[in-house]
Amino acid sequence: MSTTEAAAPQSPVETIDVKPVNAKAERSLYAKRIKVFPKRVKGTFRTTKWFVMAITLGIYYGAPWLRWDRGEHLPDQAILLDFPARRFYFFFIEIWPQEIYYVTGLLILAALTLFLVTSVAGRVWCGYSCPQTVWTDLFITIERWIEGDRNARMRLDKATWTKDKIVKRVVKHLIWLLVAVATGGAWVFYFADAPTLAGQLLAFEAPLIAYIFIAVFTATTYLLGGLAREQVCTYMCPWPRIQGAMFDENSFLISYRTFRGEPRGKHKKGESWEGRGHCIDCNQCVAACPMGIDIRDGPQLECIQCALCIDACNTVMDKIDLPRGLIAYETDRNLAAEAQGSHARIRLIRPRTIIYATGIVLVGLVMLATLLTRSDLDVNVLRDRNPLFVTLSDGNLRNGYTIKILNKQYDTRHFVISTEGLPGAELSGVGLGEGKELDVAVEPDNLRSIRLFVTAPASEMTSESHPLTFVIQDQSGPGRVTSETTFRGPER
C-alpha cells in the first residue's frame, strides 16, 4: 500500500490512497494479514462510542467494588460469585446452586434482546458494546496516542528499527500489557471479596488460582484486543454469521446511498454536481474503518457497524457543502424507495420484532414471578429405604427420615418439627432429644441435614404404608412448610 497522499489542491478534502484490505477481492485464506490502520474521526457516533466505552469499562472495573449490606454472616459485595460457598450474589438477589435456572433465564433474555436490537438496528452490539470492540478501540486509542494517527503509524510500521521506533513500540506494548493486566485483575474481583483480594494480590499472598486467571485474561486481552483485533470478528466470532439471519429490509443498517453517490469521482471546488454522484472518492470512509473494508461495496460480513465511516463521510460532506447522510443508518426498503424518488415508511413493528419483544416480556415476567414468589425456606424429606422400617422390642414401629432444611435468610432460624396424620407418632433424633415436637436451629444462609426417627404404635397401621406429613414451623416468623411422605410397616 502506498502512503502517498494525493491531495487535490482545489478540494478541501484530502483523498487517501487506500485499499480496503478485507474487501472480498483482496481476501485469501492463505494471505498474511494486512494491517489495518484506522484513521481518527470525529462526530456523533464517535462521541457515542466514547460514552459507551466509558460506561462499559466503568461497569467492568467498578462493579466488584460496590458494597451491599447482608448482615454480619454474609459477604457485603454487591456482585459476587462465591464458588467455595456455592452462592451467587447480585445486590438483593442471592442465587443458590439449585436456582441456576435464573442464569439460563438471563441468557435467554440476553439472546432475545440481542435478536431484537439486531433486527431493528443491525449489529449495534458488535459496533458499540462487545468487549472485543471496546477493548480494541481502547488499544487503538493508546496506539494512536503514542504512535500518532494513521499516516504516522504506517510510516512507523515501515520504518527500520531506529531508537525512536523501538521506544515507541516498547512503550505501546507496555501500556497495552498494563491495560491487559488491569483487565485480568478486575476479573478475579468478581470471585472474591475485592478489597481483601486486592490487598492479597499486592502482597503476593493471593491464592495461586487468582494469579493464573489474571495471567490468562491478561494474555487473552493483549492477544485479542491488541494484536488480533478485527481478525477476531472476521474469523473467530460466530455472531457475524448468525446475525445476518436477523436483518431484513426494514433493519437500520449502515448503508452507502449508491444512487446518490455514484458515479463517484474526484471533484474540484466550484465544479458542477450535475451528472455525477456525491461521492468524491476521497476514501475517508475506508481509512476510518477498523475492519479494513469499504462500506461502498455494500453490506458485508466483516462490517461490525460501528458507524465510524458515517462520521468520516459526514465530516467530508460538511466541508464540500453537501447534505450529510451519503453513508447512514438506513433500511434497505428506504434505500430502494429513495432511489425511485419516494420515501418508505419506517416499520419498527413487524412480525420479527413482535416475536422477539413478546419473548423478552414472557421470559422476563416468568423470571420476575419466580423471583418474587420464591421462598426463603425450603424443605426436603427423604425417607430411609434400607431398612424400610424397624420393629422395636415393645412392638412399636420406627421409620428413619432425613430432613433437609434450607434457610435462605441472613439470620439463624429456629424451627419446630412435628408430624401430622399418624396418631401416637413420636419423634427422636441423635442430639435432638425426643417428643412430639423437635426444636432445630438452622444457621444463616445454610442447609441443615437432620436425621430423625418417627416411632408409632403398630396398632395405628391399617396397611403397610400410612401417610405422614412433616410440619416445619418457624418459631420466630410466619415460615411454615409441610412435606408429605409415608410411614411404613410390615406387610399385612
Binding site: 434400607n386 431398612p387 424397624v390 422395636l392 422390642s393 420406627r398 441423635v430 442430639g431
Partner: protein
C-alpha cells in the same frame, strides 16, 4: 530451482509439479504458525519421554527422570486429605465416646466416617442399611444381645463374638436336643412356652409343661420370663424379635442344636479411630442406649 517453478495460470499459485489427468496439485503450504505448533509439540514429546514414564520395555518401562508415578501421586493426595482431617481424627482418638456424641461437628465427622467403614467392613453380614439377616442382628432396633450402650458396642466391635481373642464376648448355650439333655417332647413343650412369651399361644397345656422345663434349664441365662440377660449375651425371648426366626420349627431348632453366631474382632484389623467412628455410627442407627 526457481526457474523450474510451475505457476498455475488460473490461481497464480505455484504447483507441486504433480499432475493427474490434467489436474495439477497446487502448492499451498501449511500456515507457519501451524507448523511451529507442530514442531513445538514434537519437542515437547521428546522432553516428556525423558521426564516422565513413557516407553514400555519387556518387563518394565522407562521411568523418566522426574520419577513420577500415579501411585505416589495418589498416596500423596491421600496424605493431604488425611492431613486436612487431622484435627478431627485427633479429637476422635483422644476424646471419650460420649463427648464425641455431644459435639455436633465431631458427631457429623464420625457418622460420615462410620458410614463408610460400615459399608466396607460390616455390610457383608449386617446389610448395607444394618438391617441384618437371619442369624445376623439388625442394628437399627433396640434389641441388643450384648448391650447397646456406647461402651457395650465398642467392646463388641473391638473383641468380636466367639473369636480367639481373650476378651471376646462368648457364651455357650447347650444343644439340648443334639446332646440329649432334653427329650423331643420336652423341647417341643419349651418351644411352646417360649412362643407364648411373645403372645403366640396355641397349646396351653404344652405351655404349662414347658414353663417348668424352662424354669429348670433356661432361666439361669434367659432370666425370669425369658427377658434375657445382656451381660451373658442371652437374648430376650419375649419381645417378638427373633434373630434366627420366630416360627415354631425355628425355635425348636435353636433349642435342639443351639446357635453360635460369630463376629470377628476388629481391634487388630481396624485402627482405634475407625472403630470409634463405627461405634458412633452403629449407636446412631436408632437403638443406641
Amino acid at each position: 530451482m526457481a526457474e523450474n517453478k510451475d505457476i498455475d495460470s488460473i490461481t497464480g499459485v505455484e504447483t507441486t509439479g504433480h499432475e493427474w489427468d490434467g489436474i495439477k496439485e497446487l502448492n499451498n503450504p501449511l500456515p507457519k504458525w501451524w507448523l511451529y505448533v507442530l514442531y513445538a509439540c514434537i519437542v515437547w514429546a521428546f522432553c516428556y519421554w525423558i521426564a516422565m514414564p513413557a516407553w514400555p520395555l519387556v518387563s518394565s518401562y522407562t521411568k523418566g527422570v522426574l520419577g513420577y508415578t500415579n501411585r505416589t501421586a495418589v498416596a500423596a493426595s491421600l496424605e493431604r486429605a488425611s492431613a486436612n482431617q487431622a484435627a478431627y481424627r485427633d479429637a476422635i482418638r483422644t476424646k471419650p465416646l460420649d463427648e464425641i456424641l455431644a459435639d455436633p461437628s465431631l458427631l457429623e465427622f464420625a457418622l460420615a466416617g462410620g458410614r463408610a467403614s460400615f459399608g466396607d467392613n460390616c455390610a457383608p453380614c449386617h446389610g448395607s442399611g444394618a438391617q441384618g439377616f437371619t442369624g445376623y442382628p439388625n442394628l437399627n432396633d433396640d434389641d441388643w444381645l450384648w448391650g447397646g450402650t456406647l461402651d457395650d458396642i465398642h467392646h463388641t466391635i473391638n473383641y468380636g463374638i466367639r473369636t480367639d481373642h481373650e476378651d471376646t464376648r462368648v457364651n455357650d448355650m447347650p444343644a439340648f436336643g443334639r446332646d440329649e439333655i432334653l427329650s423331643r417332647e420336652e423341647i417341643a413343650d419349651v418351644a411352646d412356652y417360649v412362643l407364648s412369651l411373645s403372645g403366640q399361644t396355641e397349646n396351653p397345656e404344652a405351655v404349662e409343661r414347658g414353663a417348668q422345663i424352662f424354669e429348670d434349664n433356661c432361666v439361669a441365662c434367659h432370666g425370669e420370663g425369658g427377658t434375657g440377660i445382656q451381660e451373658l449375651g442371652a437374648p430376650n425371648l419375649a419381645n417378638g424379635l427373633w434373630l434366627y426366626g420366630g416360627d415354631r420349627a425355628d425355635v425348636i431348632d435353636s433349642i435342639s442344636n443351639s446357635r453360635r453366631g460369630v463376629m470377628p474382632h476388629w481391634i487388630d484389623r481396624l485402627d482405634e479411630n475407625t472403630i470409634k467412628q463405627l461405634v458412633i455410627y452403629v449407636h446412631s442407627l436408632g437403638g443406641g442406649q
